[in-house]
Symmetry: C2
Subunit: 495 residues, 2 copies
């Protein structure tokens, strides 16, 4: 570790440059360079043609080269994750300009860090050789993460270039879905036997130049690689070196399996404050480990995915994506919305006769539908979340519906009352006001029961309870609200 030697105390650690500052500086540099290059090019136009061909080109390329060198020095000092952040924040042309300048040996790491849509834009600018080189600089589980975005020929080349063991690891890592523990797993698990002393363990560790990151414990296995226990690094440090591993090892706080849900693993990390956890196969043989940095990324991505899904975006979208890409990402849910809106419109169509006779119905009906949608969304969000956290099981459905309906009843009487009063005053029609109160209360109660029933039914069917929850509830409360209000209006107000 002698390369990190510092002169003691005199030199204070330089606090890392904030990435926003780096972004601002690089953007400014980039734009100034382009301006300068443009000016030089403009100037050289006035130089006679044959001169331009020779000395002009030299001047021009010199300016460009100096500029590139300045940017490159700046980029070389940044962490791969910071470069990823900067690439994400730049429009496409500037993004590719910077990408060209990044040292090739960091390509792989940076591709891992950028978001998926940006990764696609970067990969499509690289040729096969560059991609193979980038992938080969990574560990098996990291290559597996990139694999879905890499062309088949690149993956073939990478496969054939890997040593046997890593090839197996890559195959294993690629066989898991994104939401399984296997997809979060890495293979950098340090293993020791129970019958050696801590002194031997320490000597073994000192052979490494650097330990794998997030190594807070070593895994104790027998000859068959069966997991026997864990040896926390902190125990290793505070214990007598003569002690046997078996005497200080502990049972792991939790043992994960590759096919478990990543969600459950994430909850375990949160609940027990873990830094790493062992992953075993069905025979209790140690196959790898999951570390908290992967879990943190997973939790953040999950949170974002559900926000995007609620708004009807199919996947993460690069803000600077092309119009065509954006259209593709958004059309599916708009189409679903259109179908439900069309149905609601046909419900109104049935009552056109009533509306013709009492046009106030048309003005008031969106209030009944809208408040139902808002309230139903509140209920469904709360239930979906409780179901996801495992706090609600099927046995609770009846009690929850009862409670939600009572809340809806109160809301309906209070807010329906307010709106009924407005309607009465506006249209000077007490009956219309009363119909308004009744319709709002009924639609809120419909919203409450569907808000519980939809996610509970999804759960029963073994589906993700959040899937399309918002669209379904709005469809019900729109069509339902129009039907209840116009139906009651037709029954009691139209003669």
């Amino acid at each position: 570790m002698s390369e990190t030697v510092q002169s003691p105390a005199s030199e204070r650690p330089e606090p890392r440059e904030r990435v926003q500052d780096a972004l601002a500086e690089i953007t400014a540099l980039l734009r100034r360079h382009r301006l300068v290059e443009g000016l030089v090019h403009e100037q050289l136009k006035h130089v006679p043609l044959d001169d331009h061909d020779e000395r002009g080109a030299v001047v021009e390329s010199l300016v460009t080269r100096q500029n590139k060198a300045e940017l490159q020095r700046k980029l070389d000092r940044l962490h791969p994750a910071d470069i990823a952040y900067i690439l994400e924040a730049l429009p496409l042309d500037e993004r590719l300009y910077i990408w060209e300048l990044v040292k090739a040996d960091r390509d792989g790491e940076i591709l891992l860090e950028v978001s998926e849509p940006v990764r696609e834009s970067l990969i499509s600018s690289m040729d096969t050789d560059e991609l193979v080189a980038a992938a080969e600089s990574l560990d098996a589980e990291e290559i597996a993460e990139l694999a879905p975005d890499l062309p088949q020929e690149v993956m073939d080349d990478v496969f054939s270039s890997l040593p046997m063991e890593e090839r197996e690891e890559l195959r294993a890592a690629m066989s898991f879905d994104d939401d399984m523990v296997g997809a979060l797993m890495d293979f950098e698990d340090l293993q020791v036997r129970p019958d050696v002393t801590l002194e031997v363990v320490l000597r073994y560790l000192r052979r490494f130049e650097e330990l794998p990151s997030q190594t807070d414990q070593i895994f104790v296995v027998d000859r068959k690689e069966t997991l026997l226990g864990v040896l926390p690094m902190n125990t290793l440090i505070v214990s007598d070196p003569e002690t046997l591993v078996a005497d200080v090892m502990r049972p792991p706080v939790i043992t994960l399996r590759q096919h478990e849900k990543a969600d459950d693993a994430a909850s375990a990390f949160e609940r027990y404050d873990l830094v790493s956890a062992p992953v075993v196969d069905t025979n209790d043989r140690l196959v790898g480990r999951v570390t908290v940095d992967e879990v943190l990324d997973f939790v953040r991505e999950r949170g974002e995915e559900s926000m995007l899904a609620q708004a009807g975006l199919r996947e993460e979208e690069d803000v600077f994506a092309s119009v065509w890409k954006s259209f593709q990402n958004r059309w599916a849910w708009l189409a679903v919305n259109l179908v439900t809106a069309f149905i609601a419109s046909r419900v109104i169509g049935v009552f056109e006769g009533s509306i013709e006779k009492l046009v106030a119905l048309a003005a008031l009906m969106p209030i009944v539908a809208g408040i139902g949608g808002n309230s139903g969304n509140q209920t469904i969000t709360m239930i979906v979340r409780a179901v996801a956290l495992g706090q609600v099981s099927r046995g609770h459905a009846r009690g929850l519906i009862r409670k939600e309906i009572i809340v809806a009843l109160i809301n309906g009487l209070v807010w329906g009352g307010v709106m009924g009063l407005f309607a009465t005053l506006l249209y000077k029609d007490v009956a219309l006001g009363l119909i308004m109160v009744l319709a709002m209360t009924l639609n809120l109660m419909l919203a409450a029961s569907m808000g519980v029933l939809i996610p509970m039914t999804m759960l029963k069917l073994g589906r993700d309870p959040a899937l399309g929850a918002s669209v379904l509830i709005t469809a019900v409360t729109d069509s339902g609200g129009f039907f209840i209000f116009l139906g009651l209006g037709t029954l009691f107000l139209i003669r």
Copy 2:
């Protein structure tokens, strides 16, 4: 550490019981006990009164005591976080029954782990002495986390019982908002001087029975506690014990300040895969550290908060909360929604004359408004997210609006075209179909521009761009959609 000694190898680590299983078992036990107790009570009614008074009461309390003991044994084996999970998943009466049984010395830890609404329900069942005892079992930064939910007299008692240093730490920890680094910080930072050997450091560490959790590095400070560098535990392990700390210490990957946004700290943890990071004051003096377990909880809570806010829930809600609590949590946003729905209704009111003449307008208008709302929500979600990640700055607004408007134009022509065709066929009116296409396209373009402008304006005003974004955009697209469609209809179709 001799208390964790195990017989080597023969004993395999027992995989931790899955918390869902524990929940199912405890719920079953609880219900069976109550049933049995009820039956015993029922039986004893038939025993003559004077006998009942003596032997009956003995039998009854014996059964109850046995049952409680069985549950208690089960609970004692569970991790505090698992008990917290179980408490959250039980209706109020069963929750308090279990809470009574939990050993008092774990009260504090469990209160820390449960969600806020559940914490309130538990705290309100405890008296001052119990609360003081629970708080005193915690570290300063943990007490600070509970402080907002504790009665003032409890906090006064706790304050006066703390030693001077911890009192200062508690005061410091309580002075930070939830979203500042200071609120994530703990004080369990191990410190060493640069001019000692690693051997000395190791001897110092061995004096601890156990190191603070999540200790992946020790902080190197001078006499004034100025942070000079960090000594990773893994470097300590792989280096020669004769080496000086100063020779192997490194600059910290990142140094946090107490008043920084917790969001920025969380991004740094994600970006650089940190386990812990030092926190310094304005004079670069080390005041504490932030660990990844706190960051993970923070990220999860942030994600949930924004989902709840989008649905118009003011705060996290206990699914088993009383009707009155639920009403309080939800009424505010329903009221806002009611106002915007009322405005939209008045927009329709202006065109009542047109609707009377052409009632198809009433049936079609919700389609125009609905599709605008859906599309606007897509745009605003994407922009809010990009702004939150710092990928979009004010300079990008114009370019983004242009792009979003083009996407809206395409969506409008495609889906508006489909709907226009339907309208033409349904009502046998080509002009109505064309108005439909035009209105949908215009409302989608309105949704696109507002979807960019609303979060950008919030950003300019220094507000959270997500705040009320969904309500605002829906209000605009509803009123706007009705106005555009009915206005165009009145202009071109009504004579």
